[in-house]
Symmetry: C2
């Protein structure tokens, strides 16, 4: 399998630039820990980067037919939003037991939402692709997705040239793999660290074992970080993670909640638990705040759940 090159990342950055605004790095106070605020995108998460890059990498004919994706959360919104902006028909398969808010948001961007039992997500997606000739936009196990997420790494290096550590949440690996490969090839002195919930530690175990370890979904499903419940890293992300990630760290549920609270109080940003694990990791490792940037990957959660976390 071939590794994405620096040219792949700069090409993706150029491709998505007309559609995806650069997010700021917000400093927590008073420590100065840097937060790459990917929650400030219109869809409230980084996922539009990969979605735009993937859809823009299709042929004109493919785009004219439409796209289909399956997702329980932010990828659904990313594909729906990018498709709307680009004038492409989109269908998104979502689990019927998932967040209603995320399904609503996906519909609000004009996508057709197909609700199915969670186990049938992938097969239903393939079925729709076949029936309509739609191109499947994978959530993480695809080169175009990693090239898109890697643009976050390029922005960090430009915005924070003094950075030494970058902490990134890990689920299927599309975010971590892209960021690590982009940064690792541009500046190998910067250490990229993956952060994962203790309750969904498949990527951590994979990293330590040197091969992909899968966990049962019943196990990974327990964490509050609902975007990180994927039970095994994708093959393409894995190739990049095993090569470019410096280390991995696990964080507890209480450390994740505490990070959500700190991000609100000290940076005035709304982070979802999955987006806050990077901060939990940086705090756990006691990384030097002024030389560390944490990717806050998203801020999509319903206000009732958020209020409960903030109330402590």
């Amino acid at each position: 399998m071939s590794i994405l090159t620096p040219d792949d990342f700069t090409a993706a950055a150029k491709r998505i630039a007309p559609y995806v605004g650069e997010t700021p790095i917000v400093a927590m106070s008073p420590t100065g820990l840097g937060l790459k605020a990917e929650n400030l995108h219109p869809i409230g998460a980084f996922k539009l980067r990969g979605a735009f890059n993937a859809i823009l990498s299709l042929t004109n004919e493919e785009r004219a037919r439409g796209v289909v994706a399956h997702s329980s959360g932010n990828h659904a919104q990313g594909v729906a939003y990018a498709a709307k902006v680009l004038g492409v028909k989109a269908s998104v398969v979502m689990p019927d037991n998932g967040s209603q808010m995320k399904a609503e948001a996906t519909r609000s961007w004009g996508a057709e939402v197909v609700l199915v039992p969670v186990a049938q997500r992938s097969s239903k997606c393939q079925e729709i692709a076949k029936a309509h000739g739609y191109a499947v936009i994978e959530p993480y196990d695809a080169r175009a997705i990693l090239a898109g997420t890697g643009t976050i790494g390029l922005e960090i290096l430009r915005q924070a040239p003094h950075v030494k550590y970058v902490c990134v949440p890990i689920s299927g690996g599309g975010l971590l793999g892209g960021v690590a490969a982009a940064i690792g090839q541009a500046n190998p002195n910067v250490k990229v660290i993956g952060v994962e919930p203790e309750l969904a530690s498949d990527a951590y175990q994979s990293f330590k074992a040197g091969r992909i370890v899968a966990l049962p979904a019943t196990e990974t499903g327990r964490t509050i970080a609902d975007g990180l419940r994927v039970s095994q890293v994708g093959d393409i992300p894995w190739e990049h993670i095993s090569r470019f990630v410096h280390d991995m760290v696990l964080v507890s549920e209480e450390e994740i909640r505490d990070a959500v609270r700190k991000i609100a109080a000290e940076a005035h940003l709304v982070a979802e638990p999955s987006g806050a694990v990077s901060v939990a990791g940086a705090l756990k490792l006691k990384l030097p705040p002024n030389e560390t940037v944490c990717v806050v990957s998203g801020g999509n959660l319903d206000l009732a759940s958020y209020a409960k976390i903030l109330a402590g």
Copy 2:
């Protein structure tokens, strides 16, 4: 009294640029209403703009002696932070019945905090100034403060060249006066609108009457927007507001709370009630979202109060 000129604002922008980062305009989703995210400054509020401009406008001798300010909230942090960064001694007089969080934060920036009964704030401030030869940094009724806050207006015009309406919270008038005068002289087609809580409507009444109307502090003290409880607009802000503000609008307590919730859910930003009134005003007036920018002036509130608002 002379009105601040465009040169005053550009000079202030140049003066504070090395110390004050530009804040982004974050779009609410899906409407696209623009939020000038002044809550993302290190102190979580716009107040550092005026504080830096005022302290940097002192003579070297004045700066060497130190500064003193009185404030119940964000101005205290603004002065403390700017003084720390500039290596200037700072003393801040705060009411002994105010937010402990804000007093702690002010101390965390290295300022000496002097707690007094709320009625003695101003006299204590003068007393300290005399005793130590400190320069008083006024919270809003000063040209240097307005010149500093006006830099927000210049940034908005550059970041959102299509803007037609700018909504701004009004308390003592330092923020609204500066933004309105900066924008009004640079592009008179842009309408600047002041937004005030119904429960603290002195500025609204002043604007409609054409002269400064004062309200009793017991009346203005009722609003949840604790940064907007000032009971009369300052003279210098008033000269600028009466000349450059297009209109004023009042919002209810429930509209303010609703705006705090919408800013969290649709822009993933933590806003304090005082910072969210601008959004409440834009929604109330049904301004066209894509042509409107609301100044979200701050995000400092304790998490328990915030959680209570979010829970609805």
